[in-house]
Symmetry: C2
Subunit: 146 residues, 2 copies
């Protein structure tokens, strides 16, 4: 059984359920366990620390919204989820860190989902691939028609 510990990285847009369902199918097929992570790219990180306003309120609000969306996502899955993580920082580095800490043997990530909350999981799939501690499954998501 090659994939026992699966880390699913989601941007929590509408497309995330599609990616999550693939991860869930992998978990079922290989009797694996699922950890779901969402990374809020910290504004300081995104803008090189040069943010002229206090962004802590915004970050807190992003965190709350993300937690709520994460719960909605988990409720839609037909498998139990071991844990969910909402964290802030650099997207690729946080995903790699969580994968390492969880001894993941597979990271599942959406590919080409470029709209939504942030520019989270677009070319991120490529970034995740570089330096990943394990295999990476890039699930193709198409832009929604809206």
């Amino acid at each position: 059984m090659p994939y026992q510990r699966i880390v699913l990285a989601v941007d929590l847009t509408d497309e995330s359920i599609k990616v999550a369902n693939k991860a869930a199918a992998m978990c079922k097929a290989f009797s694996g366990q699922l950890v779901i992570i969402h990374v809020i790219e910290s504004l300081n990180y995104a803008y090189g620390g040069d943010v002229p306003i206090d962004v802590s309120d915004i970050q807190e609000q992003l965190q709350t919204t993300a937690q709520q969306r994460m719960e909605v996502l988990v409720d839609q899955l037909d498998i139990p989820v071991e844990s969910t993580i909402v964290t802030q920082g650099g997207i690729e580095s946080e995903i790699h860190r969580v994968a390492e800490e969880n001894n993941a043997d597979l990271i599942v990530v959406g590919s080409h989902g470029r709209h939504g909350l942030a520019l989270l999981l677009g070319s991120t799939a490529n970034g995740v691939l570089h330096g990943a501690p394990c295999d990476v499954l890039a699930v193709r998501v198409h832009k929604s028609e809206a």
Copy 2:
């Protein structure tokens, strides 16, 4: 069952069996069918058509060697293989073409295997990701100790 038609791209180095075994495990888990492709990067393609010698003999020899290595690889797998393809051209474009022609729902490719016959499947995983018609599983291969 998300993955029914799996295209495995291999560089036919010693590491290929590791990648192939992951693809085989996916086939078994999802009752999928496996097509294996190896792309010989055509010398004309690699050097922009500006090759001053006749390379057809070399290409033919590469083709023969690749066919033999492909047979060895297939013999090592514990699942039946639907078909094997040894082709010449651009690596990413050939992999995408074969995936499309076979209605693949998953491409399996090695990641970071940078030594060997050619520079086949190193950063190729990234190249395969871009413009892939389906999901991509990048299997991490470590450089051999030798």
